[in-house]
């Protein structure tokens, strides 16, 4: 399979400098973009069927098309890379930023050109220190080689690029929470509309885009939409960085055609389950996705196919549940995360998720009652999309509602046996 995103990444993860990046075609995407009209760049990304790899899977070209263009458009316009990778179980953007930082810089420059942005920020989580070091180096090299700054490659297009290191909190990964953090505020979400494309950072037109999504952009412009679609097994274009964690033989990351089956990722690339444990289920794309089980192993991992079976591909990094691990304990850990990370702005989230954590803790400690299960279902409905200010709570209840569906007997056993059946292990 043709490696696109990871072709430059070294096995020892050493720094790939601008010369090494150029040697394999780096910055050819930017050169080509600068020779096109911005609207043409947006169009090729639209045609490619590139969808956002941050979790939501929104069509990228369509997102960009809402940015006001032309001489009356407000300025400065902003392009922000969402490098705040904090979805539990997700570790792919780290690999891309450490392994090939120029790819992100070029992707951001092309995207910024397409929307005629003036300033670009990388919103990078504070814990990713090696990524910061590599990106700083790459940005400095890009400026030296006229890929950033004033009048890029003599095109007349100028772009400044800065890194902002976060001070923590999962809500900084939410598009409007991120904008508030970048403005030096608490990372509460904002009402939409207005959408960031129209009124975003400091009230100006802004595109916030995931790292992996942006890394695809120079390749799409350089090689075309049909090429990108041709890489995939399904309608969603391109390759995808898939991952697996948990008790598999070879946890890790692999770049594969979009639409590779869950079974292939789990059994061929991750080597299947460790000796002594059996597969019970998985969260396909990070903590905020619905469980899938044995019957779903032949599902193709893309946005459309996973949605058909009641889950979301999300980030595409799978968290595996084995038969020696308690599903109730796993869900309790997840709801502890979501309850803690709630920004506190809206009641169903901060209140509902905290009650969910309490009920799950009671179950794990052998104090659970049948009414607790009714309460947990109630919270799942309470936190449905549309009832809360942002998508944190709806995402938080995805593993909970699906665990109640697929592992109901395990919840019941915690109540009838007055203990966690796995607790002696």
């Amino acid at each position: 399979m043709e490696k696109v995103l990871t072709k430059n990444i070294q096995p020892d993860l050493s720094y790939v400098d601008v010369k090494a990046y150029e040697a394999t075609g780096g910055y050819q995407g930017l050169r080509k973009a600068l020779s096109m009209a911005p609207a043409e760049v947006v169009e090729v990304v639209k045609q490619s069927n590139l969808r956002g790899r941050g979790g939501a899977g929104f069509p990228t070209g369509l997102k960009w098309s809402f940015v006001p263009m032309g001489s009356d458009a407000p300025h400065p316009k902003y392009l922000v890379a969402n490098a705040d990778e904090m979805e539990p179980g997700t570790f792919k953007d780290r690999w891309l930023m450490e392994g090939d930082p120029h790819q992100l810089v070029e992707g951001m420059a092309v995207a910024a050109y397409a929307i005629q942005a003036d300033v670009a920020y990388i919103f990078l989580r504070g814990e990713y220190l090696l990524s910061a070091e590599r990106l700083r180096r790459a940005i400095a090299e890009a400026y030296e080689n006229h890929y950033l700054g004033k009048n890029i490659l003599g095109s007349g297009f100028s772009l400044e690029m800065y890194i902002h290191m976060s001070a923590g909190r999962y809500m900084c990964g939410e598009e409007t929470g991120l904008l508030n953090a970048l403005e030096g505020k608490r990372a509460n979400p904002r009402t939409k509309p207005p959408y960031p494309q129209v009124s975003g950072l400091f009230g100006k037109p802004t595109i916030v885009q995931n790292v992996e999504t942006l890394c695809n952009v120079p390749h799409i412009v350089k090689n075309g939409a049909d090429w990108f679609k041709g890489l995939s097994y399904t309608q969603d274009g391109g390759t995808k960085i898939y991952g697996a964690s948990g008790k598999v033989k070879r946890p890790g990351l692999w770049e594969l055609p979009m639409g590779t089956t869950i079974r292939e990722i789990l059994e061929v690339h991750a080597g299947g389950m460790q000796d002594g444990v059996r597969f019970r289920g998985l969260l396909p794309g990070g903590a905020s996705t619905d469980f899938l089980v044995e019957e779903h192993l032949d599902v193709k991992m893309d946005f459309t196919e996973v949605a058909k079976v009641g889950s979301r591909m999300g980030t595409g990094t799978m968290i595996i549940l084995d038969d020696q691990t308690c599903p109730v304990g796993m869900v309790r850990n997840l709801e502890h995360f979501f309850a803690q990370e709630s920004c506190g702005w809206c009641t169903p989230c901060w209140s509902g998720l905290n009650w969910a954590e309490k009920a799950l803790t009671a179950l794990e400690e052998g104090q659970g009652q049948p009414a607790d299960l009714d309460h947990l279902s109630f919270i799942c409905n309470l936190c449905a999309p549309g009832n809360t200010f942002c998508a944190l709570a709806p995402g938080a209840v995805e593993p909970l509602q699906s665990a109640l569906k697929y592992f109901r007997e395990d919840f019941d056993r915690h109540i009838t046996e007055k203990r966690c059946p796995w607790s002696s292990q």
Binding site: G89, S166, G184, K185
Partner: protein, 154 residues
């Protein structure tokens, strides 16, 4: 009083944003880098420099878990407590750390050497369990080999 070095580093951020409030998180991280934590006095100095009220700045400071509004030890241990690390042995690692250091989560050892904190997913899920000590990322942490891991952090 902010030191000349702290002021210089904070002022270097000003051209990156259209207003001063936007620098407040960077500013607090810079002061914390120098002093280990952000005291009430530092908060007042930063607020004044940036044209914010102290309450407004404290509201921002207390939202973010990587900004410490209390003193910490010479070395800060952050152990990931999210789902993949939990599957791969977080609870055992936490138990060993607490026993070895003789403190609970959120506390500092009596000799001021270590502060122990939980942290959310570190993005190293294929090499779990994971933790950081200061700027170092430790992967595939073996709870039985903590002595040698922690030894270099005096």
């Amino acid at each position: 009083m902010l030191s000349p070095e702290e002021l210089k580093e904070i002022e270097a951020e000003f051209p990156h944003y259209p207003n001063r409030q936007a620098v407040c998180i960077d500013a607090m991280k810079i002061v914390q880098k120098h002093r280990g934590w952000v005291s009430d006095e530092s908060l007042k100095d930063i607020a004044e420099l940036l044209g914010m009220s102290v309450d407004e700045l404290d509201g921002v400071a207390t939202f973010y878990n990587l900004i410490f509004r209390k003193p910490v030890g010479r070395h800060v241990i952050m152990v990931c407590d999210s789902v993949s690390c939990w599957v791969m042995g977080y609870e055992r690692l936490r138990r060993e750390l607490k026993n070895r250091l003789g403190i609970q989560m959120g506390e500092t050892t009596a000799d001021g050497r270590f502060t122990l904190l939980p942290i959310v997913c570190l993005g190293a899920c294929d090499r779990a369990p994971a933790m950081t000590v200061d700027e170092d990322l430790h992967l595939n942490v073996d709870p039985q080999r903590l002595d040698s891991l922690l030894e270099k952090y005096k």
